[in-house]
Amino acid sequence: MIRLPPFTYLAPGTVDAAARLMAEHGRDAMLVAGGTDLYPNMKRRQFEPKVLVGLRGIRELRGVRGSASGWTIGAATTLSAVTAHPGIARDFPALATAAGLVSSPQLQNMGTIGGNVCVDTRCNYYNQSYEWRKAIGFCMKKDGDICLVAPGSSRCWAVSSSDTAPVLWALGARVRLIGAGGERTVPMPALYRDDGIEYLAKRPDEVVADILLPPAEGWRSAYLKLRRRGSFDFPVLGVAVAARMDGDIVRDARIVLGAVASLPRPAERAAAALVGQRVTRELIARVADLAAGPAKPLDNTDFTHPYRKKMTRVFVARALAAVAGLQNGSAASEEVA
């Protein structure tokens, strides 16, 4: 057992109070929701906050609400609750699937969707015990100043490993952020930055309060995840596809890849190639090639990176076929474990 270092736990009753506490304690403080990512990271001394601001006691952060303008998911809603919500499962099957594929049922009961979109980026050289990192030489993501995967690189390439982030991005979700200085609502892409260390573009005092989903209105979606085992494992590749269909013609489409970069990576050219087209196998093959193009996995997760690159194409094709209602020749299951 690795033990947690000592820290102070603050339990505000409102989001505003949480944001104020964050501002007050500055760099010493971190937010914690389910703690399923944060506590293991603290044990390995990847995070060393002195103060934790807990979100579990804030009622306004929990629950899924539907309205004419779409769905609102409170950031502290558990992944189990998101998966089990009938409205979400009906309108956004990809989201229900993704939340239901995060780690294991136990962790879905604890982990929240807000924590999931803010989950730390990952790398084989970083998700290690303190002693291991010390022995191998610290890297710039924590305690060091070089990158061990891409020596000579001036940035960190740790991998965005959230299952729900690429899906929410593909679904056109927005996030409501509440900070000490006020609130703002931004589209998902504006939450992220292409950097393995500073992967979130929000201010540290800003709390993700809600995730807002537009009405489903003709959108269909699918999410596929690559991992070694049928449970427990982080995505080594995630493919989210959302498309608005008019009969068999695609009117609008988004393809977003998870776990291929430090942030969810949209495949914009590929998605554009779908618009106005009838979905055929040939089209799927062409779009999958385009989508796999920008994926540049490095050798810092499970599975070899040449393999991950090859799989991007396969998974995009399968997700497209699922959305278009085409049965793929083989094993077009929702998840290929």
Binding site: R3, N127, R229, S231, D233, F303
Partner: protein
């Protein structure tokens, strides 16, 4: 024969205690004044220790002792070959080797103290691959291994720990007489046993100066002997107290941290607890040996095996200390012959030193490696001969009277029935349900373990019976089996037989847990003790002259005369190799041609078994072994680069989850011929070894890709498919 309690599916009586957290494992033992020990480990695979500065750690508030090799006697420890220092002395040989140890008031302070110890090292050239390690000019791990206590004498290279050889006939002549000869080389990975309870122990010195030990260890009496050697104390001064064990799978037979805990207890005057973190288990436990195995087989035109030569290199890591067998090698090596009659056989296994984690015993030591190689090799040959793999096996199966590589003549051989049962249950001869689906078969067999156990049964005044035993239950449910045996013999309901866990003070010896022996040795000891008690009870009842008198009346009558009705039995099972248990397994897999991912659609396991004492426990052993075999086949791998293991958590070291387990059909061919109580045989290690080759053979059948190195990952299959495409 019909039994009342034997053969009944009785659930685990210690289950509630265990799932509710009530059970007290070694790591839960608390004693007044107890302090915590932690070890500092080497970050380098091979280095000279130039200097260790412990002054800052010693100065930290709450630290009670900091010890290095200089503070300890110059003792080497081991299970059979004694080549491992308590703490590294002048030199470290693997990443994770202990160089200093701290005792502190709590584990946090102990960890903090470790960080304050300053060690200066000087790198030495290192070697990691077993093939490289036995070349001329390879860095040498131990200058004079022959001088170590327990070291075997044969040493073709200084980096060879031991050589194990099995020989029948004249292998070269056999090859000359063969029509065709095939040779293939296989590799298997470094694999942890995966028990959930890490090594844990508490050592205290009591008022009488006796050393009290609580340890997650499966052989209390051997532990006492080993500690006596390591601590230079007479055995009588040591008592090992048994606790529940949270899984062992072969890995919990060494002294591990206990001598260090003892020296810390001496230094601090307090009891000391040491619990390994799982990270430490994965970098410095005693995992399954990785292997490089070359199989060469000569066959006749009609598909009969004439000769086989097997050469295995086991990458043993920096020390031989964790291997318990007299050969200081892996007995499973004998399975290089498979379940086949081979008149000309030569198997040679070399355990090789390298700058890696020292390996030890893991469920059926050496067998999963050997059977993967042997049973893959069988299918590859069958393919070359254009024979159905089942038919090729049929032609070569062992029969009654055949000689095994270890020199035993077999009796009651049910190899062929077991194979046929598995083939039938798996619909082997029916068409496969679709493309990219394949079936693969594999077989193995295993001896029934031998050893010795002491048991004592006592009639209590309330008429219940207590079984006293010092044989640990490693989590298998063995104690329940023993209670069933006693209840059966004495005609009692199960809940009137209690078990009392003894210590090493209560008996003189016991061979403990290992080698599929517990139901046999413990069961027979309990059986005979209960038989003796039954005779006493009958005699006593006759004396009372009231045949219908209750057990409590009998006990009380004896008590009035100052007697307790009690019987002991020491059962010593001599080596017997005549009866073994056969296993035949069939995997049906689907290969996803676009991703290389392998899904095991169905698994069939057939076993030639003796009397089943508890069907739930029996099935639990079959399924547990099978799941371990599945992990070994498909995902478990301690990834190592230059001696540095990177899969140091159970997130990265992939044990199968329940989602990864296929539907299972079990076929049991019961045959009451085993040497165990009520003619039971052994089951603990029967289901693990053939799983990987069954899956590998099924993958080859499904997509033509032959995987020669474990685990069978999606990327290997995928790139294998690409290779095939390119070549065609």
């Amino acid at each position: 024969m019909a039994h009342r309690i034997v053969g009944k599916p009785i659930g685990r009586l210690d289950g509630i205690e265990k799932v509710s957290g009530e059970a007290r494992y070694s790591g839960d033992v608390m004693l007044p004044g107890l302090v915590w020990g932690k070890a500092l480990r080497s970050p380098l695979p091979h280095a000279r220790i130039l200097r260790i500065d412990t002054s800052k750690a010693k100065a930290l508030a709450g630290v009670l002792a900091v010890l290095t090799a200089r503070d300890l006697p110059d003792i080497l420890v081991g299970r059979r070959m004694f080549d491992m220092p308590l703490l590294a002395r002048d030199r470290v040989r693997f990443i994770g080797e202990r160089v200093a140890v701290v005792a502190a008031l709590d584990p946090d302070i102990a960890e903090e103290a470790l960080a304050l110890i300053d060690v200066e090292y000087e790198d030495l050239p290192a070697v990691f691959d077993p093939v490289e390690a036995i070349k001329d000019g390879a860095p040498i791990l131990h200058e004079n291994p022959g001088a170590y206590d327990g070291a075997p004498s044969e040493r073709p290279h200084p980096n060879v720990q031991s050589v194990l050889r099995f020989k029948l006939g004249d292998v070269e002549a056999g090859f000359r007489a063969s029509d065709r000869v095939f040779e293939h080389t296989f590799r298997t990975q470094l694999d942890h046993q995966g028990y959930l309870e890490p090594h844990a122990g508490v050592v205290g010195i009591d008022e009488d100066g006796r050393v009290q030990v609580w340890a997650s260890n499966k052989m209390p009496f051997r532990l006492k002997e080993l500690l006596s050697q390591a601590l230079q104390l007479p055995p009588a001064q040591i008592r090992v107290n048994l606790t529940p064990i949270g899984g062992d799978f072969g890995g919990k037979g060494s002294v591990m941290d206990l001598p260090l805990a003892y020296h810390l207890a001496r230094a601090t005057g307090r009891p000391v607890k040491m619990v390994m973190r799982y990270t430490e288990e994965l970098m410095a436990g005693n995992p399954r040996h990785p292997a490089v195995i070359t199989m060469r087989t000569g066959v006749s035109k009609d598909g009969r095996i004439v000769a086989r030569r097997v050469k295995a290199l086991f990458n043993s890591g920096a020390y031989a200390a964790f291997k318990p067998a007299p050969s200081v090698n892996l007995g499973g090596t004998g399975m290089g012959a498979g379940v086949y009659r081979i008149s000309h056989l030569l198997i040679e296994a070399f355990c090789v030193y390298s700058n890696n984690i020292p390996c030890g015993h893991a469920r059926s030591p050496g067998e999963p490696q050997m059977v993967f190689a042997g049973e893959s090799h069988m299918d590859m040959i069958a393919r070359e001969l254009s024979l159905d793999p089942a038919e090729f096996r049929r032609r070569n199966l062992l029969r009654d009277g055949d000689l095994l590589a270890n020199g035993h003549h077999l009796e009651h051989v049910r190899a062929s029935e077991t194979l046929e049962a598995a083939l039938k249950a798996s619909h082997w001869s029916e068409p496969k349900p679709g493309p990219w689906i394949g079936r693969g078969a594999a077989m193995t067999h295993r001896h029934i373990g031998v050893g010795f156990t002491n048991a004592r049964v006592r009639l209590e005044s309330d008429g219940t019976v207590t079984l006293l035993i010092a044989l640990p239950d490693t989590g298998t449910g063995a104690h329940l089996v023993l209670r069933q045996v006693v209840a059966e013999v004495l005609g009692l309901p199960l809940d009137e037989v209690e078990i009392e866990i003894a210590t090493t003070d209560d008996f003189t010896t016991d061979s403990g847990v290992g080698g599929s022996r517990v139901t046999h040795t413990g069961g027979r000891a309990a059986y005979h003790a209960a038989e003796k008690l039954k005779e006493q009870i009958q005699a006593e009842a006759a004396k009372l002259g009231e045949p219908a008198s209750s057990l409590s009346a009998i006990a009380q009558a004896a008590a009035r005369e100052g007697r307790t009705l009690e019987a002991s039995h020491f059962y010593d099972a001599k080596a017997h190799g005549a009866v073994t248990s056969f296993t035949a397994q069939v995997a049906e897999v689907a290969v996803d041609p676009a991703t290389g991912q392998v899904t095991v659609r169905h698994f069939t396991t057939a076993h030639d078994v003796g009397t089943i004492i508890n069907p739930i426990g029996h099935q639990g052993q079959i399924e547990g072994g099978l799941i371990q075999g599945l992990g070994f086949a498909l995902m478990e791998e301690m990834k190592t680069e230059d001696g540095q293991i990177s899969t140091l958590s159970l997130g990265d070291f992939k044990l199968p989850t329940i989602q990864d387990i296929p539907p299972l059909t079990t076929v049991l061919l019961e045959d009451a011929v085993g040497p165990g109580p009520f003619n039971a045989k052994a089951i603990g290690e029967g289901s693990i070894s053939a799983v990987a080759p069954a899956i590998a053979n099924a993958v080859a059948d499904a997509c033509g890709v032959r995987i020669l190195d474990l685990p069978i990952t999606a990327e290997k299959v995928y790139f294998g498919l690409k290779d095939t495409e390119r070549r065609s």
